[in-house]
């Protein structure tokens, strides 16, 4: 019963934060971080709560995008393109019908596909040793830097900065590194404070600066008739809906690439599929097909992002990094076969996500009036609440002034990055892989002939290069390195094409 209660609380909380413009899943998770200690006795209960938040917030973000034209989060920005014009034309209920059906369909289908197969994916990870992880981390880094941004120079800046932030703390033999004499930094920079500083606080400050007003335009006709019309649109155009979900699912699998990429790719694919065909309304002016083509991608991407996070400890999107941070707080070891073999772990994820997806749909159908009321609350009121909770969540680390000082520094950096379009997701993934690349690099060296390595030793004598680059011994390592090089070359040669994630 506790599981149902906490899933319901998570669903309602996720929905509330999702409705708030700009505040997305990452913000929702940061604000509940301080509740971690409560779930220490039963971490699985905490997982159910978290995944319900992720699922419901992902859906509710779309509602805000459609109803107000302000993205509920960056990951639902594509929904604004056709969703908001529909709302402005008085078709808000129809657009909501599409959003609810599409989110629920893609959320449930891809959650089932992901979570029930997660233990089987776990068999893959046993094939990974130090060299394979080193190759995979290199590929992850290449993916995020060059797929995520069109501006190669700024991407490189973001990656270098992220790597430096990730290297802060200790080296592999526990010597302090890049701490600038500040003892507080000896344990590294935590995921929660980095996410709060890079994503949480800058978005709120931006909302304050823009003095956001988010009231929805008036709706014409009966709400339930409109909803039914939206359900009908989804039934008629089910292929577009499934395509969107599939695209979201695949982008969610790519380390660091998740987020808005899936939605915009799905929107582009839908447009391309209908090119030359007669449309009820042109794309971009309130076309229901445009909305349903991209809407479910967000939900599918959220769920598939959990795969690289659980398998390799590499977040596909900022929210997944937050899920990882909370799991680590619970003492769950991400990226290990024992965790993936733990059925209670995968069942908790599946239950929370599916409950959240279906729960938010039902709540949205019956509590629509209240969603509109929430949207009328001035931004500064809920933004104040969120800001306070973010500061409080970050103070759970040591409780000292250093927590707040570091949050302030990282928030300033986050604001600068936002202002100058420096890819914050690239910083995040570089930060995550930095220590891992370091660890796997030295581990590979030690295991492959350079076994007496220790700090200060530089000779490579005795290194068995042939063994490492033997395709029969380490095919995964070699494939990852080839892909990483391919991504790098592609980004150089085709930098003017594609989507600018930032």
């Amino acid at each position: 019963m506790d599981y149902v209660i906490w899933a319901l609380i998570g669903t309602m909380y996720g929905m509330l934060v999702g409705i708030i413009p700009i505040a997305g899943v990452t913000t929702a998770l940061i604000t509940v971080f301080s509740m971690g200690a409560y779930f220490m006795a039963d971490p699985y209960l905490g997982l159910v709560f978290l995944t319900a938040i992720v699922a419901s917030c992902a859906s509710a973000d779309s509602y805000t995008s459609i109803l107000t034209g302000i993205p509920g989060a960056s990951t639902t920005a594509a929904c604004v393109i056709d969703g908001y014009p529909m709302a402005k034309k008085g078709q808000a209920a129809r657009a909501m019908g599409i959003a609810i059906t599409d989110s629920t369909f893609n959320g449930v289908i891809f959650a089932a596909l992901t979570f029930f197969l997660l233990p089987y994916y776990g068999k893959i990870i046993v094939l990974f040793g130090r060299p394979e992880f080193l190759g995979f981390m290199t590929m992850a880094l290449a993916c995020v830097g060059f797929v995520a941004s069109k501006n190669v120079f700024l991407s490189i800046c973001a990656i270098i900065f992220g790597l430096c932030v990730g290297m802060v703390g200790e080296d592999v033999v526990s010597n302090p590194r890049l701490t600038f004499g500040w003892e507080y930094l000896q344990n590294g920079i935590g995921m929660v404070v980095l996410l709060s500083g890079l994503f949480g606080v800058p978005e709120l400050l931006d909302g304050f600066r823009r003095q956001l007003k988010s009231a929805a335009p008036p709706m014409e006709g009966n709400y339930f008739v409109g909803l039914k019309q939206g359900f009908g649109d989804c039934r008629r155009h089910w292929k577009d809906m499934v395509r969107g979900g599939l695209i979201g699912f695949v982008t969610g699998l790519l380390p660091g690439v998740g987020g808005a990429v899936g939605d915009f790719l799905a929107y582009g694919a839908t447009k391309a599929a209908h090119k030359g065909k007669d449309q009820e309304v042109p794309f971009g002016e309130g076309n229901p097909v445009g909305l349903l083509g991209c809407e479910g991608a967000n939900n599918a991407q959220k769920v598939s992002s959990m795969i690289p996070a659980c398998l390799f400890g590499i977040p596909a999107a900022p929210f997944a990094a937050m899920v990882m941070a909370i799991c680590m707080y619970f003492g769950m070891e991400i990226g290990t076969p024992s965790l993936l073999d733990d059925l209670q772990f995968t069942n908790s994820l599946a239950f929370g996500y599916i409950f959240g997806t279906v729960g938010v749909a039902l709540l949205s159908i019956f509590l629509y009036k209240y969603i509109l009321k929430i949207l009328e609350v001035p931004f500064w009121i809920y933004a104040t609440f969120i800001l306070v909770v973010i500061v409080y969540a970050n103070m759970q680390y040591t409780g000292g002034w250093e927590d707040v000082a570091l949050l302030a520094i990282l928030s300033a950096i986050g604001v600068v990055c936002k202002q100058f379009n420096i890819s914050r997701p690239a910083i995040l993934v570089a930060y995550v892989v930095a220590f891992k690349i370091d660890e796997y690099f030295w581990g590979t060296l030690q295991l492959y002939g350079y076994k007496q390595w220790k700090p200060g030793l530089t000779s490579m004598e005795g290194f068995r290069w042939g063994e490492l680059f033997n395709i029969y011994n380490h095919p995964i390592f070699l494939v990852c390195i080839v892909i990483a090089v391919g991504i790098f070359l592609n980004s150089i040669l085709r930098k003017d094409k594609g989507i600018d994630y930032v």
Binding site: A37, A41, G331, E333, E439
Partner: protein, 352 residues
């Protein structure tokens, strides 16, 4: 701007409020790590017996030293501050540059714990290369593994002879986290697994491909000798070594091993307050009640395994102090520096 200012004020108000607690447990680790989780469990249970609110404050840092240093230099003078330390802090006390000194504190309670070492099933100690995932706090485990793999030495077991064998037959891989260690052991990258007793039972018991190699046993404080781990009988290092090599372990590395082993395991999970703290007796009594309470102890043992508590601080510290000799200390430092690459230092002041 005005609204932003209001937000900031509320945030600071909240911060001030959150700082108020009756007792504070200082944990030298970030949330989620082993001793942090233990500290959370202790805080939650201790509250019931102490009758006041107990909160956990994490002060993490390299090798978990800065938090303990901060306690020593500053926080211990607060009458309601309790230090939560782990075995790694004990090893650092011997071999690293630290400010803290156990002899300045009063022991509130210490769990005399153990570490379990496993190996790939059927792997023969007397042949081949052995890979082990290393990390701080692993010093006695790897030293014992080296003795088992290398066996008795012609020169009686000097550090140099064991180092020569170590370089030849053992690969120590730095900086591997707990989960990755298990993965590496499962896919055969590492030959040796190293776990807390509870983790061993959870991850390895009943699973094919591994075997329990040895444990370190626990300290019998009354007789000042090492005895069998009650949870893993007949697995103590000395017994396993004697069975394998036909004689008892001896030599310089063995003495260094005993020093670091006991300074780690006898104070594996421990609570300390400043000497002369007026609340120490009250907290100690509350810990005694907590240990004897079936509900509270069940929750603690679920995390650590069932191991005895020690509350007789003077006897414990005297037993540990008796192991510190100049030779053992110098050898432990040399072994740490040359086998693991750790920046250990010799501290003659420990002999005083």
């Amino acid at each position: 701007m005005k609204k932003l200012l209001v937000s900031a004020l509320i945030a600071f108000g909240l911060m001030a409020g959150s700082a108020q607690a009756d007792y504070t447990l200082i944990v030298p680790q970030e949330p989620g790590k082993g001793t942090s989780v233990w500290g959370e469990i202790i805080a939650k249970n201790l509250e019931k017996f102490i009758g006041e609110k107990v909160v956990v404050r994490h002060i993490p840092g390299a090798r978990d030293i800065p938090g303990f240093n901060k306690f020593h230099n500053d926080l211990r003078f607060d009458d309601k501050t309790i230090m939560v330390a782990h075995g790694g802090n004990g090893v650092s006390y011997l071999l690293d540059k630290v400010d803290y000194n156990y002899f300045d504190y009063e022991l509130i309670g210490s769990m005399n714990n153990d570490i379990v070492l496993g190996k790939q099933e059927g792997k023969d100690e007397k042949t081949g290369t052995w890979t082990i995932a290393g990390g701080s706090g692993f010093e006695p485990d790897a030293a014992a593994a080296a003795m088992l793999v290398c066996g008795p030495q012609a020169d009686g077991g000097s550090i140099d002879s064991y180092l020569a064998c170590w370089r030849e037959r053992v690969i120590w891989v730095n900086g591997v986290s707990g989960g990755e260690k298990r993965l590496g052991f499962k896919n055969g990258e590492f030959d040796i697994a190293r776990e807390s007793p509870a983790a061993w039972k959870r991850f390895y018991t009943g699973i094919e491909g591994n075997e329990l190699w040895f444990t370190h046993g626990i300290l019998d404080l009354e007789n000042n000798v090492q005895m069998d781990d009650p949870n893993f009988p007949d697995t103590q290092f000395e017994d396993v070594y004697a069975k394998l090599w036909g004689e008892a372990p001896s030599g310089d590395l063995y003495q260094a091993y005993k020093l670091t082993r006991n300074w780690r395991d006898a104070i594996q999970k421990s609570l300390w307050m400043n000497k002369g703290n007026p609340n120490a007796a009250k907290v100690k009594a509350a810990v005694t009640e907590m240990i004897n309470d079936p509900v509270a102890s069940a929750e603690i043992y679920a995390k650590t395994g069932v191991y005895p508590w020690i509350q007789d601080g003077p006897s414990l510290l005297a037993a540990l102090k008796s192991l510190i000799t100049e030779k053992a200390l110098r050898d432990a430092v040399k072994w740490n520096q040359e086998a693991y690459g750790f920046p250990s230092i010799y501290k003659p002041e420990l002999l005083k």
